[in-house]
């Protein structure tokens, strides 16, 4: 299981999807994409089939959180798989739009 800490980058084993961990819970958790565990960027992953039940997809630039908000990731590459922790799908975080200042 790849170490989950703020800043680390994970790749999907079922699609092109990639995420960066924005904030991580203190206890180790496993993030899955399309039903299969994600692996650390730079590491080796075994390609797997996408679970059709977890194939809504992730969109680049969107942030995803667990229901208790203990884990937050940023999608840095879009993919077809959906993110989940312990079988529970992550939720897309609503971000507030701000006036442009620089």
């Amino acid at each position: 299981m790849p170490e989950l800490k703020s800043g680390s980058r994970l790749k999907s084993a079922v699609c092109e999807g990639e995420v960066m961990v924005v904030s991580a819970p203190p206890a180790d958790v496993e993030i899955t994409c399309g039903g299969t565990a994600m692996f650390a960027s730079g590491g080796e992953g075994v390609a797997a089939e996408i679970d059709p039940e977890q194939a809504v997809g992730i969109a680049i630039g969107k942030r995803y959180i667990t229901e208790d908000e203990s884990l937050e990731v940023l999608c840095v590459k879009a993919g077809q798989g959906s993110l989940a922790v312990d079988g529970a799908l992550l939720l897309q975080k609503d971000t507030k739009k701000l006036p442009k200042t620089d």
Partner: protein, 504 residues
């Protein structure tokens, strides 16, 4: 976590969109070209053995390229002020060796003899054929690596190098910018110096928005207006003195304003009320935002937005109108508190020092560690207050407070009154030594064209509105006040000149 990731994301979605255009040369780089160029420069920097990438030049395509090259190569980016003398630059360069120095051709020759400095001309840095090898590895995702070292202007003694790590800059961008939110035809006009935090924030915000940046290296109101019209600029950032000069210029023009300009934000110094009022009248369709931030906080921490500008301008309520001089409310993820001399939090309307906390706050200087306290709060040394509705008002630097007979006086409060007088164009209030009171209030003023300033009348004018302790005992009328190139009033210079004048 690495700022390179921001460019990678934008390049992945809009590879062929123009990323940066240098107004003076007319040259451009697309997002994909900028990403690829950084990959090749990163290999050159790695091969050189340099531990810092120093950029010493006006804004050009080499500016964003240096920033992203540094991030990919894993060395801090150090932009230096090209207005400094060679002697001053040599002193700073000695603190950042071994350094890969990207600079103007003449300076590359002059500074080439320094130990541990590898000079490369800006033209050679941009030339693809001189960087034949791409870097093999990806960039580091360690959030604690240093992204930028920024020398602060240094109020006293040696300049300090503020440390901004990848985690600070990325946190700032993620909390304030929506990814790829810019439309194809949008363009941002950037004229702040590249060695200023606002210049770095402008690059990162625009890249994450996938917005085209137009670089204007040397600001004049004419050049700015010309570029804004030529490139149909939709977004721009200005320091108050720049906006004041543009407003002056627009007033004298017969042609109709800036129809494409949707957003105009300003910050970096105190905006005179008369300037922002006039700007809003001249550009009624433009959204204005006031941003307050510091180098040590990765740029903006509070914003007064467009709706608040319009409400304040249209209101008859004095408290709501006053909001036009506020810097608004904290960004998401940023907490702001006002504290007294003992470090205790103060209530609404009370003046004290501004403290800030959040993931984008570094508060760290090289060789001195972090200046944040155990709970992560950073003391800004700026004085201010927060009103009942949570709007933050700046009252100058905490060090600028005048202590007259044990009473703390805020120069900003007195300046606001002076600036409201019809004969006064600009005003600076400082403390000068006084035998009786310890410090006395002195004012340097600039008269409006064709107007005379009557010192006695002005003293009576201030006394009508404020307590008598705040009436300037000395009033000097100058042709202009001293500002640095980013529009910061040089209070120390004002003070020294006023003390000189009082002795004469």
């Amino acid at each position: 976590m690495n700022i390179m990731m921001l460019l990678e994301m934008a390049g992945g979605v809009f590879p062929d969109r123009p990323a940066f255009t240098d107004c003076s040369s007319g040259q451009s780089l697309t997002y994909a070209q900028l990403f690829e160029a950084a990959r090749y420069r990163a290999a050159s920097v790695r091969a050189s053995g340099a531990e810092r990438l120093v950029k010493l030049d006006v804004s050009n395509l080499g500016t964003p390229l240096s920033l992203f090259t540094s991030a990919w190569a894993g060395v801090p980016y150090v932009p230096l002020n090209y207005r400094l003398t060679d002697t001053e630059i040599e002193a700073l360069l000695k603190r950042v060796t071994p350094a890969y120095l990207v600079t103007q051709a003449e300076r590359a020759v002059r500074l080439g003899g320094l130990d541990g400095v590898l000079p490369v001309s800006s033209a050679a840095f941009l030339a693809d054929n001189l960087h034949p090898h791409p870097v093999a590895e990806e960039w580091s995702m360690d959030p604690d690596e240093i992204a930028v070292l920024l020398f602060t202007s240094g109020t006293t003694g040696e300049p300090k190098a503020a440390v901004l790590r990848h985690k600070h800059l990325v946190a700032y961008i993620l909390s304030s910018v929506e990814f790829a939110c810019a439309e194809e035809q949008e363009a941002a006009l950037v004229c702040v110096p590249p060695y200023h935090i606002a210049g770095i924030a402008a690059i990162l915000s625009s890249v994450y928005s996938a917005r085209h940046v137009i670089q204007l290296p040397n600001f004049t109101p004419q050049a700015w207006l010309e570029a804004a019209r030529k490139y149909a600029v939709t977004t721009a950032f200005l320091v108050p003195t720049m906006l004041a000069r543009i407003v002056d210029h627009l007033e004298g023009e017969s042609t109709a304003g800036l129809p494409h300009l949707k957003n105009l934000s300003y910050g970096g110094g105190k905006m005179p009320l008369s300037v922002i009022h006039k700007a809003m009248q001249l550009l009624p369709d433009t959204d204005f935002s006031n941003a307050y931030g510091l180098t040590e906080t990765s740029s903006t921490i509070a914003v007064l937005g467009p709706a608040e500008h319009r409400t304040a301008q249209a209101s008859d309520d004095a408290d709501v109108r006053r909001r036009l001089v506020s810097v608004g409310q904290p960004l998401p993820g940023v907490e702001i508190e006002i504290r007294n001399d003992q470090g205790e939090p103060l209530g609404p309307g009370e003046r004290g020092e501004i403290y800030v906390r959040g993931e984008q706050v570094s508060g760290e200087y090289e060789g001195r560690g972090s200046a944040t306290d155990a709970d992560g709060w950073f003391a800004t040394r700026d004085a201010g207050s927060i009103d009942e509705q949570g709007y933050l008002f700046l009252e100058g630097r905490a060090d600028d407070v005048i202590v007259r007979g044990g009473e703390n006086l805020s120069p900003g409060e007195i300046e606001d009154v002076l600036l409201a007088h019809p004969a006064v164009l600009d005003a600076a209030v400082v403390g000068v030594p006084d035998e009786q009171w310890g410090e006395g209030v002195a004012a340097a003023l600039v008269a409006r064209k064709g107007m005379q300033i009557d010192g006695v009348e002005l003293q009576a004018y201030v006394k009508e509105q404020l307590r008598s302790s705040r009436v300037p005992q000395m009033i000097a009328v100058w042709d202009e006040l001293p500002y640095n190139e980013t529009g910061k009033l040089l209070r120390r210079v004002v003070k020294a000149r006023l003390i000189d004048q009082s002795v004469d």
